[in-house]
């Protein structure tokens, strides 16, 4: 589904990603861990198409197509979803209206008519129940005055509505209390299928207790320096990142 080959990227003259290789197949959950400043968030932004980053070398293949030249919205239309670490506040645009717009713009891009209002309401009801979101929440301005937990729940709600093929969860566990973490993880697990894939970007092990990865990769200094199974995450939790740094630097 996703194949990243020798990806180099950065901002202006500063190189941040220095040769990433990663393959994600349908049905898989990958975790990308690493110390602060290793390039985790850059990698997720580059996959989603943030313009401020320049890809200097390598390719991002999604469903057999190089998506490197595509705009962020075109990638979204193909089924790439990024859950933001810091979701943006949009006053005056309700959660419902925002997601309606996102869904209908995606349908428009595929040559489909707008989703009938009745179907939309049904879908919203279904998915908001999944994330234990109440109705009042849906009419609030997007992310405005939301708590950390509400913001993340709203991100996963949007993911549930858009049903992406590839979901990248960027530090979704940050700012979540244990109940919110459970709800969010539960939502992600329920959406998981044989046809879609998830990349979980996280600093800590705790989200991975709930969303169990098939593969764990350690990103350090712009490169994936170690890959393994879910036990690697436990090892990192216990020992920290210093031993990885020493291994790499040695």
């Amino acid at each position: 589904m996703l194949k990243i080959v020798d990806l180099h990227a950065g901002v202006e003259d500063k190189a941040i990603l220095k040769g990433i290789n990663l393959e994600v197949k349908p049905g898989e959950v990958h975790a990308i861990m690493g110390p602060n400043g290793s390039g985790k968030s850059t990698l997720s932004s580059v996959i989603a198409g943030k313009e401020e980053y320049e890809v200097t070398k390598g390719s991002i293949i999604f469903d057999d197509e190089d998506i490197n030249e595509l705009d962020a919205e075109e990638r979204a239309h193909k089924g790439v979803f990024l859950s933001f670490q810091y979701p943006v506040e949009i006053p005056g645009v309700s959660v419902t209206n925002f997601i309606k717009t996102a869904i209908n713009e995606t349908r428009k891009a595929k040559g489909l008519e707008d989703m009938p209002a009745k179907d939309m309401l049904k879908l919203i009801r279904e998915k908001s129940e999944l994330l234990e979101i109440d109705r009042k929440f849906l009419s609030r301005s997007l992310n405005e005055g939301f708590s950390g937990g509400e913001k993340k729940r709203n991100e996963i709600f949007q993911m549930a509505m858009l049903e992406p093929k590839l979901a990248i969860l960027d530090e979704t566990d940050s700012g979540l209390d244990i109940d919110a973490l459970r709800i969010v993880a539960n939502g992600v697990n329920k959406l998981k299928s044989e046809d879609n894939a998830v990349i979980v970007i996280t600093h800590y092990q705790r989200l991975l207790d709930h969303i169990v990865p098939d593969f764990v990769h350690v990103l350090y200094n712009g490169k994936i320096v170690k890959s393994g199974g879910k036990e690697l995450a436990h090892e990192l939790e216990e020992k920290g990142y210093d031993w990885i740094k020493e291994e790499v630097n040695a």
Binding site: A48, K50, F81, V88, G92, K100, T101
Partner: protein, 437 residues
């Protein structure tokens, strides 16, 4: 002959034509003297530093359109807020259009200035209010000199007007360039309420210059809400002079939506004569091309325990330019004044520009006054957020602009007006968001 000379010489003809015995005969003559002395304002004056009238004054305007121009309702329906019941006072090239209007004398007077100026029945109100709020700056004075037609609205004590009043000035441009000087008077007596929507609309590409004066009097506990929709052609210019005198516990709001026109100057002046008054000034400006809008506001706090709230949002693209000059005067007696002013702007092109200048003159020592202005670009991280959810760039921009204007749009009390404004914004940005915000 330049425009000033043309105006001065045609004043004599005008005075002979209208009633010499008119109660405002002397007022007109005083006013033309003021204009003769001061002339049109130039950029040398501080208040006109960023707005030059030179170009628009060069046109050879026809001052008194001769022919009656008829318009079919179906052709101009879109300029009305047509999905609500309303009173309508409609002018075509400065002349009253009875077939497009719906006036009333049933408990309230919603009618014509020309009638109010000529019938004895109205002479007391005219004597007490006409030209009692307008200043003697040159442009209001020029309007006063030629004041003849406009809206006359008188709401007696305790009367709540049952539906909004629309004042629409159409210009057909059938006689090439046209200059119009509508004169409106709104008197809202004690404890009355009225909502007014005003629009100036040119129907051709010929140049139009409108120099309008609106005087509004809000007596004790009256509530007046005024909405100005400015979305005219690129050859139409508007100088809007609005003067509001408020008495004790009255609330007066003016929303100015500036989306078009070649040059628009809004001189909005509030005078608070009483305690516990609230004055509300809000605006959304979205401009492109070479359009220019200048918001020049004054709130004069004269007595204690009053408030004023100013919130102007501006979005400027292409080579559009904007000015915000907000003056707040708090007199020594006006203790416990709460005066807020905010002006936020987004520039979406390198050639667009905004000059913003708060001007606070505070003589009282126990007041709360705040002001703030910002100039920025569209938030890139918000753009990426929306685009990553599948919303294309253009639509994402539109949503951000809505979000930016949201505070102001939310304070519009007539839902149909708010809907119309969001629709104009969507059309202007060329998007169809698919829902009403």
């Amino acid at each position: 002959m330049d425009l000033k000379e043309k105006l001065l010489s045609s004043f004599l003809v005008f005075e002979n034509k209208v009633d010499i015995d008119s109660p405002i005969h002397d007022v007109r003559n005083e006013a033309i003297k003021v204009f003769e002395e001061k002339g049109f304002p130039s950029k040398k004056e501080e208040a006109w530093k960023y707005t030059s009238l030179n170009k628009i004054l060069k046109e050879d305007y026809s001052l008194f359109p001769k022919q009656e121009n008829a318009i079919e309702y179906k052709d101009v329906k879109k300029y009305f807020i047509h999905d609500i019941d309303s009173y309508k006072i409609v002018f075509i090239d400065g002349k009253y259009s009875s077939h497009l209007s719906e006036t009333t004398h049933d408990g309230i007077d919603v009618c014509l200035m020309s009638v109010a100026l000529s019938k004895p029945k109205y002479s007391l109100i005219i004597k007490n209010y006409f030209n009692k709020a307008a200043t003697t700056d040159s442009l209001p004075a020029l309007n006063t000199a030629f004041a003849q037609e406009g809206a006359y609205i008188h709401i007696p004590k305790n009367k709540v007007v049952d539906k909004p009043i629309q004042i629409i000035n159409f210009s057909t441009g059938n006689e090439a360039a046209t200059m119009l000087q509508p004169r409106n008077l709104v008197v809202a007596e004690e404890n009355s309420q009225v909502q007014i929507i005003e629009r100036h609309q040119s129907l051709t590409e010929n140049a139009v210059l409108t120099n309008s004066v609106t005087e509004i009097f809000a007596d004790n506990r009256a509530i007046v809400d005024y909405y100005k929709i400015q979305n005219d052609h690129n050859n139409a210019s508007l100088i809007d002079n609005t003067f509001i005198k408020q008495k004790r516990e009255s609330i007066a709001s003016v929303h100015t939506f500036s989306f078009g026109g070649k040059l628009t100057r809004n001189n909005l002046n509030y005078y608070q004569n009483g305690e516990r008054i609230d004055s509300i000034l809000k605006g959304v400006t979205i401009l492109g091309d070479k359009q220019h809008v200048d918001h020049n506001t004054l709130v004069h706090h004269i007595e204690p325990n009053c408030e004023s709230h100013q919130d102007y949002k501006g979005i400027f693209g292409d080579s559009a330019t904007g000015v915000f000059n907000g003056k707040i005067i708090v007199e020594k007696e006006a203790q416990k004044t709460n005066a807020f002013q905010s002006n936020n702007n987004i520039l979406i092109s390198d050639k667009a520009a905004i000059n913003t200048k708060p001007q606070l003159e505070i003589f009282a020592d126990d007041v709360k006054c705040s002001h703030g202005c910002t100039i920025g670009q569209l938030d890139e991280s918000a753009m990426f957020y929306m685009r990553s959810r599948g919303i294309p760039e253009k639509e994402a921009k539109a949503l951000l602009m809505y979000a930016f204007s949201n505070n102001v749009l939310n304070s519009v009390k007539i839902p149909e007006v708010k809907q119309r404004i969001t629709k104009i914004i969507a059309n202007k940005l060329g998007v169809n968001i698919g829902f009403d915000l």
